[in-house]
Amino acid sequence: MGVGRRRGRGNKLPRRPKGVRLVEKLDSHSVPEKSPLRKVLPGVFMGPVRQLFNWGRRNSLWYMTFGLACCAIEMMAAAAARWDFDRFGSFFRASPRQADFMFISGTVNEKMASRIKLLYDQMAEPKWILAMGACACTGGPFTGTYNVVPGIDKVIPVDVYLPGCPPRPEALIDALLQLQKLVGQEGLRAVPRAAAERAAERAAERGTTP
């Protein structure tokens, strides 16, 4: 996408046959139909950088290899051949540094919560969290017990809530598409300065890189 359709004719731009539109629409933010730019830049997309970033981000959302409970089994099923998450450009990454988002797939107890927070802090911005299943959303059947966190949103911010116990892989695919929609609306978000400084301080205390 985005470059001239015909190749192998040197630097000369191809002559435009009658009836072919000069600029393909990326979406509603592209160059308007009547803009003079359309005449001088054949075969070229125009649009805000933000749009290009979001297009790339939402179509290659990599997620942490991280499972907590029975929901993780459904997550693995969704990633495997039958439901095949790879179709959406999403697949497991075994490092928080390379992950764009994380499924919280199961019951979170108090002991695990601090580990999840650490993983979240290690992920690079921009990052998203998908709370999968009743436990990750609210604590599910374990709400009110002595060692279960009533929803991971009490520890880290959540972007998409997916109910179910556990949700089917089809529901997981829908949640991923919702997340893609969300990522498509993202601005060029910067890490809040104070938060970045705090993260660096904490990392220095631990002797790691932020």
Partner: protein, 176 residues
């Protein structure tokens, strides 16, 4: 190893162990249940000696400790620790070795059986974690399931969850 004979063989094994304990540990109170499981109640002072006797008994060595659990008797002010024992030479034999201790947190303690069955190590840690029973002589008595900062022992019947209320975190107020 005929499964249909199991209840009968369990009774035979239970009676043999009951006789053994009657002659060797006078302070033990034994009950043979209708299903053939032998309940052995001993005072804490006789626990290790009884455990050693059962673990080395011939020909029914109770050499497999499958479970250590706790029971909180709130009304009586006691906590009971139950060791469930099986025998590898004869699977028909089944014993639950029970010992009681005071419920008061500073007094709750029984001798550790890690010297008899090494597998008691993890399971006694679990009973310590959830009931607050101290096992004297345990090589590494720490919490095992709950976090180090957890306050209290949650399977005690008078346990109260004193965590502060949880608040939802948003992107704006998240603290790394």
């Amino acid at each position: 190893m005929n499964a249909t004979n199991l209840p009968a063989r369990r009774m035979v094994a239970g009676e043999a162990l009951q006789n053994l304990l009657a002659s060797r540990v006078p302070s033990a109170r034994t009950t043979l249940r209708p299903d053939g499981e032998l309940e052995v109640r001993v005072p804490a002072t006789a626990l290790v000696a009884t455990a050693r006797l059962l673990a080395a008994a011939e020909p029914l060595a109770l050499n497999y400790l499958s479970c250590v659990s706790g029971v909180d008797w709130l009304e009586r002010g006691r906590i009971e620790v139950v060791y469930t024992l099986h025998s590898m030479p004869d699977p028909a034999a089944k014993v639950s070795l029970r010992v009681e201790t005071d419920r008061e947190l500073s007094l709750a303690g029984v001798p550790s059986l890690t010297s008899v069955w090494p597998t008691a190590g993890y399971q006694e840690r679990e009973v310590f974690d959830l009931f607050g029973v101290k096992f004297e002589g345990h090589p590494d008595l720490r919490r095992i399931l709950l976090g180090e900062s957890f306050v209290g022992h949650p399977l005690r019947k008078d346990f109260l969850d004193q965590r502060p209320p949880h608040r939802r975190v948003t992107r704006e107020d998240y603290q790394p």
